[in-house]
């Protein structure tokens, strides 16, 4: 399924009635006044956790880019914001095994995508753009491929960064799910300047 098809049914208000912009504003206000409809929504909580990580990275990047290229296009941030909102939705139900016939145990696809995004973002010098689970996750034992797009900071080895992302994601999926992971495909689609590199690196990349 292409991204375009996957996004066709997505409305920004699908996050339990909230948009990514609303969640961003709520974070900006220090989560005040307390909003129970946001605080009691797992989708909103997943999205806000991702927004906090993105905010930390993008502030660092924008500070550096402001030195040399103040008019730089930051549409990549908007793209990630859109993906965060889409991926935080519950999605499909992923079964968890139990010997009892009365047990109906599941993980939401949104919870697992949030786990994958957090694992990828935890890798130094990497920012996850989007992630998808390819395959029928509702059927136990079905081979699943994890598709991840990511950005790296200038100066990072792309093959090594991709390998670290793959390892981090696999470890988390192994710990928290019963998915049969056939592959984790990591595509590095962008390189950003990081604040720690300073002007020399910025000139070099120009």
């Amino acid at each position: 399924m292409s991204d375009e098809i996957a996004l066709e049914g997505f409305e920004p208000a699908d996050l339990d009635g909230h948009t990514i912009d609303e969640l961003s504003d709520y974070l900006e206000a220090g989560c005040l006044p307390f909003d129970p409809s946001i605080e009691s929504s797992p989708g909103c909580q997943i999205a806000m956790a991702a927004l906090i990580r993105l905010r930390g990275v993008s502030l660092s990047l924008l500070e550096t880019e402001a030195i040399d290229e103040p008019a730089r296009d930051d549409s990549w941030v908007a793209g990630i914001l859109n993906r965060i909102g889409f991926e935080a939705q519950a999605g499909r139900s992923i079964p968890v095994s139990h010997p009892s016939a009365q047990a109906f145990l599941t993980l939401t696809e949104g919870a697992v995508r949030g786990l994958i995004r957090a694992a990828g973002d935890s890798v130094t010098g990497v920012l996850i753009g989007r992630c998808r689970l390819q395959g029928d996750v509702t059927v136990p034992g079905e081979p699943i491929t994890v598709l991840v797009d990511a950005s790296v900071f200038w100066g990072e080895s792309i093959p090594e960064a991709a390998a670290r992302v793959r390892e981090a994601i696999y470890a988390e999926l192994l710990k928290h799910t019963e998915l049969t992971i056939a592959a984790i495909d990591v595509v590095i689609h962008d390189v950003h300047l990081s604040r720690s590199l300073g002007e020399d690196a910025a000139e070099e990349i120009e």
């Binding site: 307390f34 009691s40 797992p42 009365q102 047990a103 993980l107 919870a111 697992v112 949030g114």
Partner: protein, 109 residues
């Protein structure tokens, strides 16, 4: 307080105490329940409304709960422990006619 409400609250408190459970979410539409949640916030100082759903069906009692799991423990294991705890509590309460217990993990970490 009727028996159903008491059971719902009992199970909600039980699930909250299980290691690895970081949050217990409403199983119904969040927006619809926001007003109720606000009332509970005023009364208790936190989002603490009753969130384990209990209903009667043809085959017996059905229970459903949606949880968030902390990063420290495997989500699948916490999910199973929540089921086992609810099943045991229902059995001890003489409610052996349980049709289903659904546990959904909606957030990890």
């Amino acid at each position: 307080m009727d028996d159903r409400t008491a059971l719902t609250r009992d199970l909600t408190d039980l699930v909250r105490l299980i290691p690895g459970v970081a949050a217990v979410y409403s199983s119904g539409p969040v927006v619809v329940e926001a007003v109720s949640a606000v009332t509970q916030v005023v009364l208790r100082g936190a989002v603490a409304h009753d969130v384990v759903a209990v209903a009667e069906a043809n085959g017996g009692l059905t229970v459903s709960v949606t949880i968030g799991v902390s990063e420290g423990l495997p989500a699948t294991e916490v999910c199973r422990q929540v089921y086992d705890a609810i099943a045991e509590r229902l059995l001890l309460g003489g409610m052996a006619e349980t049709a289903s217990i659904a546990v959904k993990v909606a957030r990890i970490g």
